[in-house]
Symmetry: C2
Subunit: 191 residues, 2 copies
């Protein structure tokens, strides 16, 4: 039997799920490559979870039976590259025209600003799934746009802004998403 609409809906859902996972797993693979080749030590932080109840069905194996996801207070990734502190988050958008600020938490912006103020390298990786393009945008570039949005300005960053002002991250086989190539340029420019 043929249920075209139903099939389409399922397929779309799968695609969305993969998109989100792909960027994170591409970065994880990249970080594994950086670590095993002694290029950098950058890890994803665990997802923060509030544990409410734990049971002990077997020895030495606590089973969490009630817990909730918490809003992260910082970013997903941080680490060390050439003696420098690196801190970033990764976001993906399905839009062809703009990256909405609603995708970023305010405390993540605040955290990245603090990192920048203390001499770290702070940025976001924005994936444009419609174009298969990944851009690195520094908090220095993002912050003025964010503050303008808070004061009633545009609530998103145009794709054209990334095209014009941000560096495209090379995508390949190994490493998958070589964002440290862009970080190298930032270091050369003294950020």
């Amino acid at each position: 039997m043929n249920y075209p609409n139903k099939k389409k809906a399922v397929k779309k859902q799968n695609n969305y799920a993969n998109l989100g996972m792909t960027l994170e797993s591409d970065i994880d693979l990249t970080n594994q490559y950086y670590l095993s080749h002694q290029i950098a030590v950058i890890h994803k932080k665990p997802t923060p979870i509030q544990v409410v109840d734990v049971s002990y069905p077997a020895r030495n194996k606590a089973k969490i039976v009630e817990a909730y996801y918490r809003t992260p207070s910082t970013t997903d990734f941080n680490g060390l590259y050439k003696g420098r502190y690196i801190d970033f988050d990764a976001k993906e958008t399905n839009s062809k025209t703009s990256f909405p600020f609603s995708n970023i938490h305010e405390h993540q912006i605040r955290h990245l600003s603090e990192i920048d103020a203390h001499g770290g390298i702070a940025f976001l990786i924005i994936g444009w799934s419609q174009y298969n393009e990944y851009y690195l945008i520094t908090i220095k570039d993002l912050l003025p746009l964010w503050e303008a949005a808070k004061s009633g300005g545009r609530k998103s960053v145009a794709y054209s802004f990334f095209k014009t002002n941000c560096q495209l991250i090379p995508f390949g086989f190994q490493p998958r998403l070589d964002y440290l190539k862009v970080v190298d340029q930032l270091i050369q420019l003294h950020l």
Copy 2:
């Protein structure tokens, strides 16, 4: 009625629980002080948890109903101080004479060694609850002892080693456990 043995056992258990929480929460309070006084940006990483099953009893509120604690692949704390990458873990011992290596995971030692090799500042904070003393031991100092232990040598670090070779961390009201004072000395000595 009087059950002296039972009472004693319960009291001891409570003390152990408090000891573990005290060091971690003292460090959390210290990190909050550092952050709010714009001294450093250092956070505790979330505890890694493997989520197996999630239910959705109410809108927008996922409830985790089966999950398990995972072994951390890195350390508990990392961040940024004076443009430098800081990475450490905190352990407490109830012993009066030695800190057993069984308190540290091998991958934590490996991680701290990688941080050291890439130009970060890597150490452990060891709390001696019997003395109310907290020492900072760098991975540079710890690694030879760890490797000797792996080759059949002593499976612990003597309290006297800390007394002689490591810096005592000042303990006070605010900040509670001022470990960056010791880090300052490490920076001056070029680690």
